[in-house]
């Protein structure tokens, strides 16, 4: 069964450094998402992406964050200058969408990247 994959599984960085988190969504999916989960807290929406542009973003997704689909398979989240409070588990998700009468509303999640900012 196709899965969303994410690399790396764990990233440790120094405050102020740039990090790029990578995701490979399910191959025929059209909608892509990033969420994060701070330790012990709930999963929070960051951004959604469709047709090579951001569809919606949360207040968390400030100018330090950016997303990109550099090729036909990868979907990346960049944090330009990391802060201590960016330490969290970051989840990528993808969804097929609707095409030719076929619809699926289910978002499928990757295993996550644990980001630790020191």
């Amino acid at each position: 069964e196709p899965e969303v994959t994410q690399t790396p599984s764990h990233q440790v960085t120094q405050m102020g450094q740039e990090v790029i988190l990578r995701c490979v969504p399910i191959s025929n999916h059209l909608y892509f998402y990033w969420y994060r989960q701070i330790l012990g807290q709930k999963v929070e929406f960051l951004v959604s992406f469709y047709n090579n542009e951001i569809s919606e973003k949360s207040e968390i997704f400030d100018d330090q964050f950016s997303v990109e689909r550099p090729d036909g398979s990868n979907f990346t989240l960049k944090i330009r200058s990391t802060k201590l409070e960016d330490s969290a588990m970051y989840f990528c998700a993808s969804r097929y969408g609707t095409s030719g009468g076929r619809s699926t509303d289910t978002q499928y999640f990757g295993p996550g990247t644990r980001l630790t900012v020191l």
Binding site: F45, S48, Y50, D105, T106, F109
Partner: protein, 115 residues
């Protein structure tokens, strides 16, 4: 704004007994409702969803959930719990329309099934 409440941080149940994990929601319009499960050091796994149709939906691993519009609830149930069901369960809601179709999650309920 959409929101989800999971009133119980933890639910304990004996193996073989029925289990219920509670969820209530708030959203404009008809809700799209989801349950996900998270095992330690793993991602979120989809269990089941309600979009439209029968109020009782069946999902993976013998789980089911009942949509109750008047009570704005979507409780997760299983007739007979297994020790392997022990995990963190998240309820999520999505508005029926809107640009990104984001999911809003509850705070999660830790299910502990004991022998």
């Amino acid at each position: 704004a959409q929101s989800v409440a999971q009133p119980e941080d933890q639910v304990n149940v004996a193996e073989g007994n029925p289990l219920t994990v509670k969820c209530t929601y708030s959203v404009s319009g008809n809700p799209y409702l989801f349950w996900y499960v998270q095992y330690p050091n793993r991602g979120l796994q989809f269990l089941l969803k309600y979009i439209t149709g029968d109020n009782l939906v069946k999902g993976s691993y013998g789980f089911e959930a009942e949509f109750n519009k008047s009570q704005t609830s979507f409780h997760l149930k299983k007739p007979s719990a297994l020790v392997s069901d022990s995990a963190l369960y998240f309820c999520a809601v999505r508005a029926p329309t809107g640009g990104g179709n984001k999911l809003t999650f509850g705070t999660g309920t830790q299910l502990k099934v004991e022998l």
